[in-house]
């Protein structure tokens, strides 16, 4: 999905808050115009930023994983050198607003020491082991170098941390457009869709697993990934001779692996959805299934898991306290429930010859539907809610009167309600002129992709608004905030105490609302 307008505005706001306005101008230039060289950025950025300053900012943004450099191989026979260009990593910029969620995931799985090491990588972007140890020496609560080393090893083994990608991967100069069009219908089913430039760059930059997670292979684990040649792709053959993925002391540079962190959050959201819509037992079974299938997932946003047997699910389930309380019969009943489909709720699991597959797309679609319908209800009212649900069910164009009949709304009021939703991008509309009929018929439809994109844009906008409002409240209560630092609660009295309580309550409300809204943003963008 291409980035929406408020997606860009929100991303720029995050960069401004963390790195200042000059960095945000460089970032905005890349987000709006796509890949550019440093000279082009210097020329095109809103205010004049000299070339040296642009390079400094680019290195800063690369350090913090917000920008990736790359170059494209010049055409065969050409004498021109490949120019280094830069691309903004929109998803990684948004991740900056959810570092505490990533920290929590690691804390729950690996403990506070590991989450402490991860925090260091999150706040500094990328560090070597030596730099992590130095950072620990300067901190109040020291862990010690052994603990740091041990924690880093655990983080890499769990794939929460990875070796930094290639700094400047070189892409082959492919001109695939016209050739692809000549392929027939059959061929298009066999060959996958061409990747976008962003996807090609990231794929080219990502090293093979053996390099990306090196500790795993040094320990001689049973993983067969190292033997799997499919990990090597075209871009990876063009790794630079000098290894820039190591620090000055030839130590490896590490960074958070956002793909794995997002995968964990996605799994968490799926378990939560199953718990809400089914029960605790089904949620435990789902959790076990996700554990079984996780290591085999090729990408974070996969539609379905691999097949797994009842035996492997039960084996994983009984590793937990809650799972040990479940009999095999109960697990089978849960799997039957999860595989059941109705007009109300689709199946979350696909059963096939005694094997089971988690249908991620189905689970996420239910959560997305809940979000969409909640907004329609709150913004446009109950009648609009019925109309929206009717059109979502029908999934085709329907004429105005038929909608009014199905939703049992006044025929003369129905067009106004539908028009309001259409103006805000929640409905698709078509006019149908019929010979002999004075007024053309209006036909309406819910286009889920278009609505998802519209909602995502509005959610970025809302998240930006929450952040700006918090800043506004903080600025308005500077005096009160000072007292928070200087005086304990018991010493405050009267109006000042009340103001401080009010400010605190507002701050908590705004922060928690942004936290929950970010879950909804991930639902539409990352999951």
């Amino acid at each position: 999905m291409t980035t929406t307008e408020f997606g860009i505005v929100y991303a720029v706001h995050i960069i401004t808050s963390h790195f200042g306005s000059v960095a945000s101008k460089v970032c905005e230039c890349l987000l709006r115009r796509g890949p550019l060289s440093s000279r082009e950025i210097s020329r095109l950025a809103e205010s004049d930023i000299n070339h040296t300053k642009v390079k400094d900012i680019l290195y800063l943004l690369i350090q913090h994983n917000c920008v990736q450099a790359f170059s494209i191989e010049p055409p065969d026979g050409s004498e021109s050198k490949a120019t280094v260009q830069y691309i903004a990593l929109f998803s990684n910029i948004l991740h900056r607003a959810r570092y505490n969620k990533f920290s929590k995931v690691v804390n729950e799985e690996l403990g506070s020491q590991c989450s402490g090491v991860l925090d260091g990588l999150l706040s500094n972007g990328r560090l070597t082991l030596e730099q992590l140890i130095d950072r620990d020496r300067d901190s109040k609560k020291q862990m010690g170098s052994e603990a740091i080393r041990d924690s880093l090893q655990k983080l890499v083994a769990a794939r929460f941390v990875e070796r930094v990608p290639s700094p400047e991967p070189v892409l082959g100069n492919k001109d695939e457009g016209p050739a692809q069009k000549k392929r027939g219908a059959k061929a298009s089913k066999i060959f996958k869709e061409p990747e976008s430039l962003d996807e090609r760059i990231l794929e080219a930059a990502t090293p093979v697993d053996a390099i990306r997670f090196p500790f795993i292979f040094e320990q001689g684990s049973s993983s067969t990934v190292a033997d799997d040649d499919s990990n090597i792709s075209e871009g990876k053959r063009k790794q630079p001779e000098v290894d820039y993925t190591s620090g000055p002391s030839n130590e490896v540079i590490w960074r958070p692996n956002f793909e794995e962190l997002i995968r964990r959050l996605r799994h968490k959201a799926c378990v939560e959805m199953v718990k809400e819509r089914r029960d605790e037992g089904c949620a435990n079974v789902m959790k076990a299934m996700l554990e079984v299938g996780r290591s085999q997932e090729k990408k974070a946003k996969t539609d379905k898991s691999l097949q797994m047997s009842m035996g492997s699910i039960y084996e994983e389930l009984i590793k937990t306290d809650a799972g040990r309380e479940m009999t095999q019969e109960r697990v089978e009943a849960c799997l039957e429930q999860l595989s059941a489909t109705s007009s109300y709720l689709p199946a979350f699991v696909i059963e096939s010859d005694g094997s089971y597959i988690v249908d991620f797309k189905s689970i996420i679609s239910v959560a997305q539907k809940d979000e969409m319908e909640s907004v329609v209800m709150r913004r446009y009212g109950k009648e609009a809610f019925r109309m929206f649900r009717y059109l979502s069910q029908e999934d085709r164009f329907v004429e105005t009167d038929k909608i009014a009949d199905a939703a049992l709304t006044e025929k003369k009021d129905t067009p106004q309600i539908l028009l309001k939703m259409w103006k805000d991008g929640y409905l698709h509309m078509q006019k149908l002129a019929v010979t002999g009929v004075y007024m053309p018929f209006l036909l309406w439809k819910v286009n889920k992709l278009v609505v998802s994109r519209q909602m995502l844009d509005e959610m970025y906008h809302a998240s930006l608004n929450l952040s700006l409002r918090l800043t506004h409240e903080t600025d308005s209560e500077k005096e009160v905030i000072l007292t928070l630092l200087l005086l304990p609660m018991e010493k405050l009295e009267g109006a000042l105490k009340e103001r401080r309580n009010k400010y605190r309550a507002k701050s908590v409300l705004l922060t928690s609302a942004r936290f929950k809204l970010d879950d909804a943003i991930m639902l539409f963008h990352d999951f």
Partner: protein, 226 residues
């Protein structure tokens, strides 16, 4: 100069109508309960619109036709015919307006019955029997139940022959109240809908430094006013 008056135009001996007016009345009568709009009369009789307007006014005054308004505009019916359901809007319309209180009352009744019968399999037939004979048709009750499904108050579940639905034919629909015990859970409250921006009709006009902005927003003010 002659002082004789010009003779009057020839009129029908039965009602004093012009030929055009008779033709229009005949056309309207032929449409029975569906009625006809001015556009349809003009197209159907090939008489100019201005003359159609004059004729319909005169026929209304003579109480030979009546006017029924609905979303599609004004329809003319011959006095001897009642407007059909489609013209009125459907069987939920009374005097051209949707009978909202009746519909809401019926919905409430159906929900209560489904709640009382929660240990049974509730099909359309079961709900139909809860009503007095001839008050509502099965089609009307189904419309009410379908409307409750759209309200997300009940769910319609098709029998697949499993143990839960063993009493039903495969493919027959039964209705349940939405909730954890029904096996589908309740839809969650949206995170976006629970903040002012989610409900705001002016989000398209809102900008960080504009007249409508998060710092000046009245909805935010109310939300944070505690």
């Amino acid at each position: 100069m002659s002082t004789r008056r010009r003779p009057a135009a020839p009129i029908s001996s039965s009602s004093g109508m012009t030929e055009d007016t008779k033709k229009i009345l005949g056309f309207i009568r032929s449409k029975q309960g569906i009625g006809a709009t001015k556009y349809e009369i003009t197209a159907g009789t090939s008489i100019q619109q201005a003359l159609v307007t004059k004729a319909t006014t005169s026929l209304k005054k003579s109480k030979l036709i009546k006017e029924v308004s609905n979303k599609g505009g004004k329809h003319f019916l011959a006095m001897e015919f009642e407007p059909c359901k489609e013209l009125q809007g459907g069987h939920w319309y009374v005097d051209g307006a949707l009978d909202v209180s009746m519909i809401e009352g019926l919905k409430e009744f159906c929900v209560k019955r489904i709640e009382q019968l929660k240990n049974e399999v509730v099909t359309l037939d079961v709900i139909y029997l809860c009503f007095k004979k001839d008050t509502l048709t099965r089609e009307q009750i189904k419309e009410i139940l379908d409307n409750l499904v759209l309200d997300n108050v009940i769910m319609a579940v098709k029998s697949n022959g499993s143990s839960e639905h063993s009493a039903l034919r495969i493919g027959e629909v039964c209705y349940k109240l939405i909730g954890k015990k029904s096996g589908g859970g309740e839809a969650r409250d949206g995170a976006f809908a629970s903040i002012p921006c989610g409900a705001c009709p002016h989000i398209g006009l809102c900008t960080p430094d504009g007249a409508i902005s998060p710092t000046t927003c009245v909805y935010y003010q109310k939300w944070l006013d505690f």
